[in-house]
Amino acid sequence: MLNVEKLVAGYGKVEVLREVSLDVPEGALVTLIGSNGAGKTTTLRALSGMIAPWSGRVVLDGAEIGGLPPHEIARRGMAHSPEGRRVFATLPVQDNLLLGAFTRITGSRPKGDVAADLDRMFALFPRLAERRAQLAGTLSGGEQQMLAMARALMLNPRVLLLDEPSMGLAPRLVEEVFSTVARLKAERVTMLLVEQFAAAALDVADFGYVLENGRVTASGPASALKNDPAVRAAYLGQAH
């Protein structure tokens, strides 16, 4: 579904990603783990066009998308729930969700049933249903995270990029986020998940990639990575 080959990207003159290659097969949940500054967020930003890749190939559904502007990439079916949630603060919850379906409503992606999908999101995230008329900027951090995920899902994406959905949330909410991810996986939503909670991410994922200083240093089935002594020592620590 999504194939990344030797992706190089960075900011200004600083190279952050050094030939990152990874694969996200259809229906799979792939996680990208690594310490702060390893380049996880930068990888997602380069995939969705928020920054332009310097070199390498990004192929979605057989078509090269590297270097396209973000709105073109979204129109090809990539949804990105970005770091920091980035909800539209001055708009109500419901409008945030409708904007997630902007490409469908305006005809650049198959329309499907937007209203039914809206209801599906409200069923998946009942807190959002209660607050559908409330301005997104007044939601709590956990609610904003749910909104960011739901908004991305409203694209009916071919691939969903999730950047640190657990960031800054209370432990109970972190569990809720991971159970939501597990439910989406059960519905065969293709996902690339970036997470700081490596253990939890590997528990739920099919495949994993370990990123270190902008390079993939280990990869494989999530269960194998979890038992890899080097990965355990570096990322899973005593917590697991």
């Binding site: 969705s48 066009g49 928020m50 502007p69 973000p70 709105h71 979204a74 129109r75 949804a79 990105h80 970005p82 980035r86 909800v87 539209f88 603060a89 001055t90 708009l91 409008d95 409708l98 904007l99 997630g100 902007f102 490409t103 409503i105 305006t106 650049s108 992606r109 301005l135 900027g137 007044t138 939601l139 709590s140 951090g141 904003q144 908004r151 991305a152 694209l155 800054g168």
Partner: protein
């Protein structure tokens, strides 16, 4: 008392013009953090194009032509003067570029329509109506209705239509809007088109009351900028209040003190607002909960 009422009525009419131009500043500022310092010239061009077209089409058919012209003119300003500055992250390139375009438009207008003030035909009777001794020109009422109507239409578009919501989303967070599949460069071009369109409308509304001519834009654009600062560059209808405050203080000062000082109170207010409430009298800090 009658005189006071009369002054307030004139102040409201001119204030609404300031308000609608200032509204145009807001439209581009929220989406791109830039604005067109040639906004006064957009108004002037709208008015002069209207003057030429009205001879062929009559008043009412002239309006859509002027609005369309305003949109094209605004899009041109964005493409030539602003887009590159936004792309390269230039903090000030757009300021000089939009001023330069304004000067070019003014010179162009001087060459086409001359330097003299021209009379603009009024679509409404030019005899004033009298309300309790206060004379109100029908055109002054049209100014208030037209200006408010335009702002309401834009607001309605932003709230109700998916494309309007896309504009608001771009104003909120341009990167995130791009991730939704919104072409945010196009949204910014569109906001410039809309902004010049409101200015062009203001031009044809005000021209029958004042006069029109190549030099009509400069002072109006600058005062409307003061109104945008006073009302808040991000607060929807704050510009209406700001415009009325400036318009009314101007006519009152002009009558009770001296026409020579009529610009002073508004500018003093501008300085006070900049010192004590930089986000504008009605501007609110963005809601953000972490």
């Amino acid at each position: 008392m009658q005189i006071l009422g009369q002054l307030i009525v004139s102040g409201i009419a001119v204030g609404m013009i300031y308000g609608v131009i200032a509204f145009g500043y807001q439209l581009t500022f929220v989406t791109s953090k830039t604005l067109n310092f040639g906004q006064g010239e957009a108004l002037m061009l709208g008015s002069l194009v209207g003057l030429t077209v009205v001879a062929y089409t009559g008043y009412w058919l002239m309006l859509p032509v002027v609005l369309a012209f305003g949109m094209v003119q605004g899009a041109v300003v964005e493409r030539l003067g602003v887009r590159q500055a936004i792309r390269t992250g230039s903090e000030s390139g757009w300021i000089m570029a939009t001023i330069a375009l304004g000067i070019i438009f003014k010179n162009l207008a001087e060459n086409i329509w001359g330097r003299d003030a021209l009379k603009f035909p009024s679509p409404l009777p030019e005899a004033p109506l009298s309300f309790m001794g206060v004379n109100v020109l029908p055109m002054e009422i049209a100014i208030v209705v037209g200006a408010l109507g335009m702002m309401l239409l834009v607001e309605l578009f932003n709230r109700r239509s998916i494309h309007g919501k896309a504009v608001v989303a771009t104003a909120n967070d341009r990167d995130a809007a791009g991730l939704m599949g919104i072409n945010t460069s196009l949204v910014i071009t569109f906001s410039y088109a809309l902004s010049s369109m409101t200015a062009a409308l203001a031009g044809v509304l005000v021209a029958p009351v004042t006069l029109t001519g190549a030099s009509m834009g400069g002072a109006l654009g600058l005062k409307a900028f003061a109104v945008a600062i006073i009302g808040g560059l991000s607060s929807g209808f704050g510009v209406v209040a700001g415009g009325l405050i400036l318009g009314i203080t101007e006519t009152l000062t002009g009558y009770y003190i001296s026409t020579g000082y009529k610009d002073v109170p508004g500018l003093v207010l501008l300085l006070l607002v900049l010192s004590f409430r930089p986000s504008g009298l009605f501007g609110t800090a963005a809601i953000k909960k972490v």
